[in-house]
Symmetry: C2
Subunit: 172 residues, 2 copies
DNA sequence: GGGCTCCATGTGATTTTATAACATCGATGA
DNA sequence: TCATCGATGTTATAAAATCACATGGAGCCC
């Protein structure tokens, strides 16, 4: 079934988002962007919410709500599912995180502040997830919607496959 | 495929998949296509699997696995979750049905037999679902994948919004 | 200050969705 | 005959998400 020999990537050392980068900076800019957005819009960026976003920003992969809950509990917050779900719902509702439907899991938004329809590339070997922009109204789906008279409000676009670094390992 | 354009008032005709059509025919052709495909590929189109597909074909909306399970039970099949999940897994694995990730639910394939990347339009008001074709490698996502070196194997494309018939009702 | 509302947080309990683990049975074929 | 395989069935459990309700602080009006 699952092919052996492809250890999960270590998020602290692996190229993430499929490209090497200064990861500490991701977290800092993510939090800063969230603060900016919240103060702009009069939203409460409370401690749980901030911590939940930090948790997501630590990784370039999607975390299940219960993973987030564990870490929130360890950080001294409540320990029941609604604690995590409420924080995540807030982040998602305000464009600071996204839900990956295919994985029933959540990831910090990689382009906070900009209005966008996200699209995701999910590596089935190392579980890393990269965010790209989708253009739902263009392309085949947009055309089908126009022809059918369907009004698109929101799109889920997720590609599953193999990321470059896992493909390289597989070749070797 | 089903051709539109029936005069209204035929009880077998209801606007589904956002367009009026002879629905009884959907079921019949769906089952026929499945039979063809299975015999072609040496797959066992067993009674539970056939019934599960029939159940999905009855509706142009996505059914949860437990809805399907209820109906299978009523039809005399086993009553435990794996009964439904296994039948649904078979249908999905062989292109006879799709899972709508956004809804954690399943729908019969509208284009059985043809290889395709499905895309769905989900009405949030009446829960109807229409299937269209996606062209994942074209468009923004395909380009992002090529640039990143990501190999796409499978895509989830789901648009949530309002179908024409609900939009009309809302206007009124 | 007192009382009010609003909203965020916390809890226990439950529902919904999905899998694990194992027994049986019929078809196939050595 | 009997070994194997795949399909079906069962019980039990895991994983994901929500419900219902209590508490507590921030802001506000009087």
């Amino acid at each position: 079934m699952t092919s052996p020999g492809h250890p999960k990537a270590d998020p602290a050392t692996e190229p993430v988002g499929f490209a090497a980068h200064d990861h500490g900076r991701c977290v800092a800019t993510g939090i800063a962007a969230a603060e900016a957005r919240c103060s702009e819009q009069g939203l409460q960026f409370t401690p749980v919410r901030r911590k939940a976003l930090e948790i997501l920003l630590q990784e370039h992969r999607a975390l299940g709500a219960y993973d987030v809950l564990d870490r929130l509990r360890n950080a001294g917050f409540g320990s029941q599912p609604p604690v995590a779900y409420r924080a995540l719902d807030f982040l998602v509702a305000n464009g600071l995180a996204h839900k990956i439907e295919r994985l029933n899991a959540f990831i910090a938004c990689a382009h906070p502040g900009t209005r966008h329809s996200p699209a995701f590339m999910i590596c089935r070997l190392c579980d890393s997830v990269a965010e790209a922009h989708a253009t739902p109204t263009r392309g085949a789906l947009g055309q089908a919607a126009r022809e059918a008279g369907f009004r698109i409000e929101r799109t889920v676009v997720e590609a599953e496959g193999v990321c470059p670094s896992c493909a390289e390992k597989a070749d070797a």
